[in-house]
């Protein structure tokens, strides 16, 4: 079995109101020196088989078709 982690983040230039709110809350909690905060999503995915190249290709297709909205989001695939 192959384990993979897919990280989906907002593209640069896309406003992230939730990240902004978290940034503000961290400041309120007294954490100084916090720069920009951007919120994203993490998917841990298990795949049958042991072919890593195939897994990466499949994961890329999954990102393009469902996991990320490529209008506003980037994705990174990390096969463990």
């Amino acid at each position: 079995m192959i384990k993979a982690r897919v990280t989906v983040t907002l593209k640069n230039g896309v406003l992230d109101p939730q990240g902004k709110a978290i940034e503000g809350a961290l400041g309120t909690l007294g954490f100084g020196g916090v720069g920009h905060v951007r919120q994203g999503k993490v998917f841990d995915i298990e795949l049958d088989g042991s072919d890593k190249a195939k897994a990466e290709a499949d994961l890329k297709a999954m990102c393009e078709k469902l996991l990320a909205n490529t209008v506003i989001e980037n994705y990174q695939i990390h096969v463990v």
Partner: protein
């Protein structure tokens, strides 16, 4: 004019939409379910608002991958009119039938209130019963209505007149770019909008500014 309404688990504005279509066209719309792979022969397909699939992953993301939405996309390609309201708009964007994306409201708050809309393009099959630039009242109720498109896409849709409705008179409730409230595809047969015109169609609603949208698209404009 015959119409159909798409039903999906989690949508909750379907009854209002069916009532509006029935009252204005005089005929009850057909209904199609998530697993349907064929849509009856109709002139207009409407995707109502709500929270399809609990807004899981992204608003409209799961709905956009259902069999019924593949059928809607096929109909749209054939030129059938398609209109998505609120979650229906989000679903059309996720399906790729419309350009851009809808993000969390800039205020991070769910907004449920009345706004003013400018009819930015009255020369469409949807808005032909309005005057160009007409300002209408319309309710909104959403958490993710903050329209976004990259600069190239934005320039293209603005240039093509694909921006059909804009929030007017400083009533933008969500921070959407260029005050965009509704956009259509390049071919002009698919429209998505965040506000709820189906909730302002008769005196009992306190106004009927939304009625002309249905009259226009249903071909019964006065």
């Amino acid at each position: 004019m015959k119409s159909a309404v798409v039903l999906l688990p989690g949508l909750n504005r379907d009854r209002d939409m069916i009532a509006a279509l029935t009252k204005i066209s005089g005929k009850a719309p057909a209904t199609v379910w998530q697993t349907d792979t064929e849509i009856p022969d109709v002139d207009l397909i409407v995707i109502p608002g709500g929270f399809s699939y609990g807004d899981y992953l992204r608003c409209g993301a799961i709905a956009a991958r259902t069999p019924v939405m593949r059928a809607v996309a096929e109909k749209a390609a054939q030129g059938v009119m398609v209109m998505g309201v609120c979650n229906g708009f989000q679903i059309l964007l996720e399906t790729g039938l419309l350009p851009g994306a809808l993000m969390r409201n800039a205020s991070l708050k769910f907004v449920c209130r009345e706004v003013k809309l400018e009819v930015a393009n009255a020369n469409t099959a949807f808005t032909r019963a309005y005057e160009p630039g007409q300002i209408i009242r319309c309710p909104v109720a959403h958490h993710d209505g903050n329209y976004f498109a990259d600069p190239e896409t934005l320039a293209r849709i603005e240039g093509n007149g694909q921006v059909v409705f804009r929030y007017a008179e400083d009533t933008n409730p969500n921070g959407s770019i260029n005050d965009i409230a509704g956009v259509m595809n390049e071919a002009g047969n698919v429209l998505g909008l965040m506000p709820h015109p189906e909730n302002l169609i008769e005196a009992a609603h306190g106004g009927s500014d939304g009625r002309a949208l249905f009259e226009g698209v249903l071909g019964i404009a006065a």
